[in-house]
Every structure is written in C-alpha cells, then in structure tokens.
C-alpha cells in the first residue's frame, strides 16, 4: 500500500531580496556544517511530520494561552492584586472573577499548568523536526527572512522562557530570582506575538504539508516500508535529509513516541490537581505527597513557620476584627463558633496548578458583613496576622464575599483547623485563587459601595 505523494508546492519565493549581493556574499562564506548538509540523517524529517506536530500545537496552545490570561484576571487586577500591577497597553479586560462553578479557578489553572506540561514533549518534537532550519546558510536571504527569524526568536524564546519559568515555579524553585508573575506575563506576550505571526505565515504551509501524505496510510506503514518524504535536492530550505540513514522507527512510531511521552507526562502530573487515585502517581511533583489520613492531613500551602505564626498568636488571645461599619466589631474564637455555621465542600486551587478539595465549616462571610454593619459590601479586604509575606492581605470582590459558600472557616473535615491550615480562621471561597484564601485571618474590612 503506497502513500499518496501529491506534493503541493507553494508559490516560489524570490531567491534573494534586496540587497541581493550582500546576501549572496553571506551565502558564499558558509561555515563548515551549516546549510542543508549530508550531516542530517533522520529519514523522518519532512513537511508532513512537522505539520502534524504543528497542527497539534496550533489546536492546543491557544488553550494554554487563554487559561493563562484568565488566571491573571482571576487575581483581581482591579484591586491591584495581579502582577505585574502596571500592564500598560497590554491590560486585559478586568471583570469580577465569578464564584460559580466553585471549581472555576481549579479548572483554568489546572488546565494551564497541566496542558502546558503535557505539551512539552510535543514542543520538543516540533523543535527537533525543524532544527535543520536553525543551521541554514545563508541564515537570511532577504529582509523578509530577517524579520521572520526575529519573530521566530520571539516564538521559540518566548515559549522556552515560559516553560522554564513555569516548570521551576510549580516546584517552588525560584532560582531565576525575578518576580515569577511579572516575568511570566511579559514572556507570555512575547510568545503570543511570535505565535500569532508564525500561525499567520505557516498555516498554508502546514495545510499543504498535511495534505502531502495520508495520516491513515502512515498509521498503517510499518518500519520496513518507511521512506523519506519526497524533496527537491536543490531546495536549500527543505527539511528532508539529503542523505537519510535507514529508519530506526516508522513515522507512526515517532508519533506514538511523542504521544506516549505526552501521556506519560499526564500520568505523572495530572494527579496534583485531579487528586484521588491519580495523586500518588504525581510522585515527582511537590503536590503528589501524602500527608496522612487525618482531617487536617492534606496539602499545606505555606507553613506557619514560613509565615512567622506561633501558637500564641493563634491562641486564646486571638481576636477577629470586622471593620467597615460605624464601629469595628471584635470577636473571639468562641464567639465565632457560637454564630451560625455553614459547611461547604470547596477546593483550594493554587497557581502551581494543583488543588485539593476539602469540607470546610465556618461562618459565612456575608453574615460577618452583616455583623460589621455592611450588609451589601462592594469588596472586602482580608488581612492576616502574618507580618510581611507577599499574600498577607487579599481583596475579595462583592460576589466572592456574598456567595453563600464563602466562609471564614474554623473547622475542616469535622475537626478544628490546624495551625498549618490557618488556625484559628481562614477564608475559603469558591473560585478564589489559593493565595487569596487568606490564612490566620486577623481582620476583615468590608467596603461600602460608592
């Protein structure tokens, strides 16, 4: 069974743009090894394989991009809580992050990190498939190529920067030394710029490449029948090897390897947010760890030691201060426990893409607002007794305060909150990013609508 070999050749580009003598001279100064040499041996490289990887990335990268941008909005730039605080012209539309469904941030951030990780094998495969072009000679033949290579710098550099900073951040390795959120935001726009240009320029090439061979035929082609893609030996831009070695894997084997790699990454990472039986499978990630079987034995996001919280600070002397009304209201832990309690099953979902669902019991935030004398607040500012710390205080929007499941939790899974989980009281609200579910709450200020 032979594959269809109809090659659709796109309109020929001029050989050299202005100034042609310059580019031609550059072409003559070829360093050894550069250009379409016989050094490239893989018989699998070619427009079809590249187009296949490209098609997968074209379909999935927009999801990673979109969820990433949505999560920036989830942090509440309208309160100055999102980083970078000043996004200038690249400001995203700001809206009150919703509370329903309660797993919305769990979904967007879990997808962003999860899909991002799963795509790493595909990205590496795509880069492998086009790497001969990196060493093309002359490196540029016209102004158009100069600009295109610059845009590829944004595409590949931006993507690798996002991957590196992301992978380090989710494992709490802040080796880079700059603010992760700020760098990841600007890096994202650099990548988006490169991705947009690359898509516009290459979709026709990708479609032509995909049409050049039949996927079904390739999936039926074993190793013994694997042949290099057809190419013109005089075409300096072709990805196909001039002197291909005998294949060691078929094209379907290469696709299976990349797909299998993506699945492998999924199994090793998805558990950190999906939880359940998959969590132990994430045994190389921070959030695949087992804390035990007790009511307080689940993922800790920030230890009391790191926050400078002692048992004394959280002890019987602790008071909750409710502000915003005519008079501040002060409550002790016992007084809080005497108020109407409500129980809700809610996730904590954090920026590293992990989450954990627990059952929380506490006083509804809207009941506290009522007590404070601000029955319909426009926002609330929750301040922790922690001193310093990047997230020692957080703003909640009106919807997040008034949602019936938004709690100042005192108990979790039927037992009193442990110090590690924010005792004596922590905020837990549907859809709110983990860092804004303030632990060791000291005061809540309810803002009246203006």
């Amino acid at each position: 069974m032979s594959a269809r070999h109809a090659v659709v050749v796109p309109a020929p580009e001029p050989r050299y743009g202005f100034p042609a003598p310059l580019f031609r001279a550059l072409g003559r100064l070829r360093p050894p090894g550069a250009g379409r040499t016989r050094a490239w041996r893989s018989p699998l490289r070619g427009p079809w394989l590249t187009s296949a990887f490209g098609a997968v990335l074209l379909a999935t990268m927009p999801i990673v991009i979109l969820t990433g941008l949505l999560d920036h909005i989830a942090y509440g730039p309208q309160f100055g809580q999102a980083r970078p605080a000043d996004t200038g012209w690249l400001r995203l539309p700001q809206f009150d992050w919703p509370t329903r469904p309660s797993w919305i941030f769990r979904l967007t951030q879990g997808l962003h990190v999860g899909l991002g990780l799963v795509l790493i094998p595909v990205v590496l495969a795509k880069l492998w498939s086009v790497v001969p072009r990196l060493f093309a000679w002359p490196p540029v033949r016209s102004t158009a190529q100069v600009l295109e290579r610059l845009s590829l710098l944004a595409l590949v550099g931006g993507l690798l920067f996002e991957i590196v900073t992301g992978v380090l951040n989710i494992q709490y390795d802040y080796a880079f030394g700059f603010d992760f959120y700020t760098a990841h935001y600007w890096g994202a726009w650099v990548f988006i710029a490169g991705f947009g240009t690359h898509t516009v320029l290459k979709v026709p090439v990708m479609l032509a490449g995909l049409r050049s061979r039949s996927l079904r035929a390739e999936l039926r082609t074993p190793l013994a029948d694997t042949r290099p893609e057809p190419s013109d030996p005089d075409d300096p831009d072709s990805l196909v090897a001039l002197d291909p070695a005998p294949p060691t894997t078929s094209r379907r084997g290469a696709l299976a390897l990349v797909g299998g790699g993506a699945l492998f990454v999924f199994v090793l990472t998805a558990g950190q947010t999906l939880g359940g039986f998959l969590r132990p499978a994430a045994f190389l990630l921070p959030r695949g760890r087992d804390y035990g079987d007790g009511p307080n034995d689940f993922q800790v996001n920030r230890t009391p030691a790191a926050a400078g919280i002692t048992d004394t600070m959280a002890g019987p002397g602790w008071r909750l201060s409710l502000r915003g009304g005519d008079r501040p209201v002060t409550l002790s832990a016992a007084q809080l426990a005497a108020l109407n309690q409500h129980t809700a099953e809610l996730p904590i979902a954090c920026v590293e893409g992990w989450s954990t669902v627990q059952t929380w019991t506490g006083v509804r935030l809207r009941d506290l607002a009522l007590l404070a004398g601000v029955p319909a607040p426009a926002a609330a500012r929750v301040v922790s007794i922690e001193r310093g710390g990047a997230f020692g205080r957080a703003w909640l929007n009106a919807g997040q305060v008034l949602d019936p499941d938004s709690l100042l939790a005192l108990r979790v899974n039927g037992a009193a909150l442990s110090l590690a989980h924010g005792a004596p009281a922590r905020v837990i609200a549907p859809g709110v990013p983990g860092v804004h579910c303030t632990k060791w709450v000291g005061s809540i200020e309810f803002r009246r609508p203006w």
């Binding site: 790497v131 550099g157 494992q171 390795d173 603010d179 921070p286 996001n301």
Partner: protein, 147 residues
C-alpha cells in the same frame, strides 16, 4: 507593483504586516519589563533558554542518539525509549531530584525533597525493566511463531 515589492522584500507585502505587527507586540512586551526590577535577569534567562535548548540540549540528545543507533542498531528503540523517559522526567522534575529550592519548598509544603531522587531512579529502572520485558516478549513471540 506587488511583484516588484516581492522581489525587493523577499515575500508578499502582507508578510511584512504580519511580522512587523508581531515584532511590535513582542518588542513592547520586552520593553515593558524594563519598568520593573529584574529585567536584565529576565533577558538573560530568555537568552539562556534559547541557547540552552538549541546549542546544548539539541546537540546533546542528537549526538547521544547517533551513538545509540551506532551501538544498538535495530534494537535501539529498547534503549532509546526508556532513556528518553528518564531524560524527560529529569528535565521536568530536576528541582526535586537535585533538591533545588529546598528552602522555598519547605516554606510552601512543610516537607523536604529527600524522596525524589530515589523515586526518579526507581522510575528509570522501571522504564528499562519494562523495555527489557518487551524485548524478551518480542523475541519469545518471534521464536514461537517461526517454523
């Protein structure tokens, strides 16, 4: 007219629109980092990520693969696939494996990174073991099916 522009520029004028638009956006984002601290570090990491992949990682794995094919011939996939699995997991999870960022890890989770190295080594062993089992299985099937 378009033809002259194409010969001068090297592609259709709309190509220029696409690339210049993209470069403007990328340039704006890159310049925006200068408003805050740490922008030189960001630039260095950007360059390092590019160079790290294109001029370090790629030559490393390409050369390794060339050597593997030379050494193992037809059975190379039984070495290549588990090795790729080990390399990929190392690249993805090295902070835990090499105990990088131990302080911030403990501050965030309350645990330490000691189990990861052993777990990764066990995973690598399991990958090679599985590959070995598949190799043995294939040989057995071939022996059974041959006359």
């Amino acid at each position: 007219m378009i033809g002259t522009l194409r010969r001068f520029y090297g592609a259709h004028p709309l190509h220029a629109v696409a690339v210049l638009g993209g470069l403007a956006l990328a340039g704006h984002a890159a310049l925006a980092t200068q408003a805050g601290p740490g922008w030189t570090r960001m630039a260095i990491w950007f360059a390092a990520a590019l160079v790290g992949h294109d001029l370090l990682l790629f030559p490393l794995y390409a050369t390794t693969d060339r050597l593997l094919v030379g050494a193992f011939g037809a059975g190379v996939n039984h070495v290549r696939v588990p090795l790729l699995g080990c390399a990929l997991t190392f690249v993805l999870f090295f902070p835990g494996i090499l105990r990088q960022g131990a302080g911030s890890y403990r501050a965030a989770t309350g645990l330490d990174q000691s189990p990861y190295l052993a777990r990764w080594l066990l995973l690598c062993a399991a990958l090679f073991a599985a590959s070995g089992l598949i190799l043995i299985g294939r040989r057995a099937v071939r022996a059974l099916l041959s006359p």
